[in-house]
C-alpha cells in the first residue's frame, strides 16, 4: 500500500515524439485511479513509466516517499497486469502464479499458500495444473490478475485488461474487479480507452488527450462538470450533443442562450459562475446529453424542431437520430415505457419531431478555446 506521486512527468521518445506532457497527479494510498483517453493519448506510456518499463524523460515519480525514477521495475513494489495477459505459455497456471515468488526465493510452503489463496479469490483452483492455452479468455485474465495478487504489491497497475473479452464477459469481469479491489484494498492504477469502464471503476478519472491531462475528477464531476468540449464528448454514451448557439448577457448578471428558435434563460447558479468569470455576450457551443432532452408530441412552444433520420430500438429506450434545422445530427434518448402506442408509432424515420431541454442540464463552451464557460 502506497501513494503514488507524479510531478511534471514528461516522456519524449528517441524519435522526438512527445508522448506525455507535464503530467501532475497525486494518487492517494488505496485509491483507484483510472487513466482514460483515445489511443495515442499517453495513458499507457504513463502507466509504463510508473511500472519502470519506460524511462522518465523529465519529472519526478514517487511511490510512497521514495523517488523511483531510476529504480528497477522489480524493486518498485508494484505488480502489473498486461493487456495481452503475458502469461508464460510453457508452464502451468500454478507455475505462472508462483513465478515471481520463486525468483524471490520464497519458501515452498509460503509459495503454495499464496498461490492457492489467489486461485481461491479468483475461482481458478481447478485450472491450476493446466497450461494457459487450455484456458478461455476470461480464465486467462483471472490468471493474469492472480499473478499480480500473489505479489501482494503496494501498487497494482492494470493495462486495458478487458479489451480482449466479449461484451458479456467484460461486464462480468468489471464487476469482479470492483469486488477484487474491495478485497485487496490497495492502490490501483487502471488504464482503459473505454469510458464506461472508467466511470464504473474509478474513484477518480484522469482524462487524457495528446499527452496532456484534460481533467481529473470523480466520475460524477467529469460527467456533470466537463471542463472542455473533449471531456464532454468523451464521457457519456451516446456522445453529448453540441449546438451552435448565442449567449446574451442581460441585466443584473442574468444570461440567456438562444438556440435556433429556442430562447432559454439560464438558471441562477450557472449565471453566477459565468458572471464571476466575466463572460459577456458571445457565440457559444451548447452541449446537451442525449438523455436530458425531452420529446414533445404536441406543438409545445419553446421547443426545437428536427427530422427523425434513424430510430434505434435499444429495448428499454429509443436512440433517436435527429437532423436539426441547421443540418446537424443529434441523438436523443427516450425511455420506451413512457410512450403510448400512438407515440411510438409516430417515431418513424422522416417524421418531424419537437424536443427541448431544461436549462439546468446544459453545458456552455467557448467555440474557439473549446473550454467550458462554467467549470475549470
Amino acid at each position: 500500500m502506497a501513494s503514488v506521486s507524479l510531478q511534471h512527468i514528461k516522456k519524449i521518445y528517441d524519435n522526438k515524439v512527445v508522448a506525455v506532457q507535464d503530467f501532475n497527479l497525486e494518487i492517494a494510498d488505496k485509491e483507484f485511479v483510472v487513466f482514460v483517453g483515445p489511443s495515442g493519448c499517453g495513458k499507457s506510456t504513463t502507466l509504463r513509466m510508473i511500472a519502470g518499463l519506460e524511462d522518465i524523460s523529465e519529472g519526478t515519480l514517487k511511490i510512497g516517499d521514495r523517488v523511483v525514477n531510476d529504480v528497477e521495475p522489480k524493486d518498485r513494489d508494484i505488480a502489473m497486469v498486461f493487456q495481452n495477459y503475458a502469461l508464460y505459455p510453457h508452464i502451468t497456471v500454478y507455475e505462472n502464479l508462483a513465478f515471481s515468488l520463486r525468483i524471490r526465493r520464497i519458501k515452498q510452503e509460503e509459495v503454495h499458500r499464496r498461490v492457492v489463496q489467489a486461485a481461491h479469490i479468483l475461482g481458478i483452483e481447478e485450472y491450476l495444473d493446466r497450461k494457459p492455452r487450455a484456458l478461455s479468455g476470461g480464465q486467462r485474465q483471472r490468471v493474469a490478475i492472480g499473478r499480480a495478487i500473489v505479489r501482494e504489491p503496494a501498487v497494482f497497475l492494470i493495462a486495458e485488461p478487458l479489451s480482449h473479452l466479449d461484451a458479456k464477459l467484460r461486464n462480468q469481469m468489471r464487476a469482479e474487479i470492483i469486488l477484487l479491489r474491495r478485497r485487496l484494498d490497495t492502490t490501483f492504477v487502471y488504464v482503459t480507452h473505454d469510458q464506461t469502464e472508467a466511470m464504473t471503476l474509478g474513484d477518480r478519472i484522469v482524462i487524457m488527450k495528446d499527452g496532456f491531462i484534460q481533467q481529473v475528477g470523480t466520475p460524477q464531476e467529469v460527467f456533470e462538470k466537463p471542463v472542455n468540449l473533449f471531456v464532454a464528448g468523451f464521457i457519456g454514451s451516446p456522445q453529448m450533443n453540441i449546438f451552435n448557439a448565442d449567449l446574451i448577457k442581460e441585466q443584473q448578471g442574468r444570461y440567456t442562450v438562444v438556440v435556433q428558435d429556442l430562447r432559454l434563460p439560464i438558471d441562477a447558479d450557472k449565471c453566477a459562475l459565468m458572471a464571476d468569470r466575466g463572460v459577456g455576450s458571445q457565440a457559444v457551443k451548447l452541449g446537451v446529453r442525449p438523455e436530458h432532452a425531452q420529446i414533445h408530441f404536441d406543438n409545445a412552444p419553446d421547443t426545437l424542431e428536427g427530422t427523425l433520420a434513424v430510430n434505434e430500438m435499444m429495448g428499454s429506450e429509443y436512440h433517436l437520430h435527429v437532423i436539426t434545422k441547421d443540418e446537424q445530427t443529434i441523438i436523443l434518448r427516450t425511455p420506451t415505457v413512457d410512450l403510448s402506442e400512438k407515440q411510438r408509432a409516430s417515431l418513424k424515420a422522416g417524421n418531424k419531431l419537437r424536443f427541448s431541454f431544461p436549462s439546468k442540464v446544459i453545458q456552455l463552451f467557448d467555440p474557439k478555446s473549446e473550454q467550458s464557460l462554467l467549470y475549470s
Partner: protein, 313 residues
C-alpha cells in the same frame, strides 16, 4: 448431382458486428475436384522424378560401398550392383586407424561448434531482438552486408592469422573450431525473427516479477523457442561436419588433423584412385549416418524452426 447444382449448399455464420446472418460463398464443387485431382497427379509425378534424381547418387554410393576391394575391384567399374555383398570396405575403415582419427576429428569439431555456435547465435539474436542500444540498426546492416561476401574470401588472411597462433596443421582442430564459431553470430537472422514473434510483454512481465535478463532468456525465451534452438544446434553441427574448403587448407599437409571430407578426398585424389574408390564410398556412407539420424529425430522442429522464423524475419 443436378439437384445439388440447383440448390448450392450454403453455409452461414453470424456476423456479430453487423448483427446479421451472412452466407459463406461456396465454390462449385465438382469441377474443382477434377481439376484438383489432375493437378495432384502432375505434382506427384514431378516429385517422384525429382526424388529419384536426388536419391540415385546415394543409392549408387551405398551399393559401391558393399563391393569388396579385395576380391572384386576397389575402383570404378561399369556395373552398379556388386557381384558379391561384402563388408570388406567397412572392415578396412575400422581397422585402419586413419579413418577413425579423421572421423573423431570431425566429430570433435562439430560438437564443439554446435555448442559454442548455438550459444553465440542465440545470445546475439536475443540481444538484437530484445534490447535497444545505440548502433543496433547499423550493426545489423553491417552484418547483412558482410554476409553477402562468401566466407572463403578471408581464407588467406585467416590462414596467416591462425599460423601466427600455431593453429594450423597440428593445431588445426582448435583453429577450425575458432574459424567456424567466430563468425557464427552473423547467422542470427532466423532466430531473431523467431524471438521477435514472442510477445515482449512476457519479458516485461518477468522483469517486473524480478527476473534478470539472463533469467528471462533461460526460463522463458529458451523453452518457447525449442524449434529454433534445435535448428541452430543442427546447423552448428552440420556446417563443420561437411566442410571441405577451410578444413583442407588449415590442416594442409598434416593427415592426423584432417576431417573426414578432406581425408576421404585425399584417398581418391592423391592416392590410388582405382584402389580406394569403394572404401571412399563406404566412408561416405558412415559420414551420412549421424546426420541422417539427427535429421529424422529432429525433422519436426527443423521445419518449425525454418518456417517459424520466417513469419517475421
Amino acid at each position: 448431382m443436378a439437384n445439388k447444382q440447383q440448390i448450392p449448399e450454403v453455409e452461414t455464420y453470424i456476423d456479430h458486428e453487423a448483427g446479421i446472418i451472412r452466407e459463406v460463398k461456396q465454390p462449385k464443387l465438382h469441377s474443382k475436384k477434377g481439376r484438383e485431382r489432375r493437378a495432384n497427379r502432375a505434382i506427384y509425378i514431378t516429385l517422384t522424378i525429382i526424388s529419384i534424381i536426388w536419391l540415385a547418387p546415394f543409392v549408387f554410393l551405398v551399393l559401391q560401398s558393399f563391393r569388396s576391394y579385395l576380391t572384386e575391384d576397389g575402383g570404378m567399374v561399369n556395373y552398379l550392383i556388386p557381384k558379391a555383398f561384402s563388408l570388406d570396405n567397412y572392415r578396412y575403415l575400422f581397422e585402419d586407424g586413419q579413418y577413425l582419427k579423421w572421423y573423431s576429428n570431425t566429430l570433435i569439431i562439430a560438437l564443439f561448434c554446435s555448442v559454442l555456435q548455438t550459444g553465440m547465435v542465440l545470445s546475439v539474436s536475443y540481444a538484437l531482438s530484445r534490447m535497444r542500444f545505440k548502433g543496433r540498426r547499423l550493426f545489423m546492416n553491417i552484418i547483412l552486408i558482410l554476409g553477402m561476401f562468401p566466407g572463403f574470401l578471408t581464407m588467406i588472411a585467416l590462414y596467416f592469422l591462425l599460423k601466427q597462433f600455431g593453429l594450423t596443421q597440428e593445431g588445426a582442430i582448435p583453429g577450425l573450431i575458432l574459424i567456424y564459431v567466430a563468425s557464427s553470430g552473423m547467422g542470427y537472422y532466423i532466430s531473431k525473427g523467431f524471438f521477435d514473434t514472442i510477445p515482449k510483454s512476457l519479458d516485461e512481465s518477468a522483469r517486473i516479477d524480478g527476473a534478470t535478463r539472463f533469467y528471462v532468456f533461460r526460463r522463458i525465451i529458451m523453452p518457447l523457442s525449442k524449434p529454433i534452438v534445435i535448428y541452430t544446434i543442427m546447423m552448428g553441427f552440420m556446417a563443420p561436419w561437411g566442410d571441405y574448403v577451410f578444413a583442407s587448407y588449415v590442416a594442409f599437409g598434416k593427415s592426423d588433423s584432417y576431417n573426414v571430407a578432406v581425408g576421404l578426398y585425399r584417398w581418391v585424389n592423391t592416392m590410388d584412385f582405382q584402389g580406394y574408390f569403394t572404401r571412399f564410398c563406404a566412408g561416405g556412407v558412415l559420414v551420412a549416418i549421424p546426420i541422417t539420424i539427427l535429421f529424422f529425430m529432429l525433422q519436426r522442429y527443423y521445419v518449425e524452426g525454418v518456417t517459424g522464423g520466417a513469419v517475421k524475419g
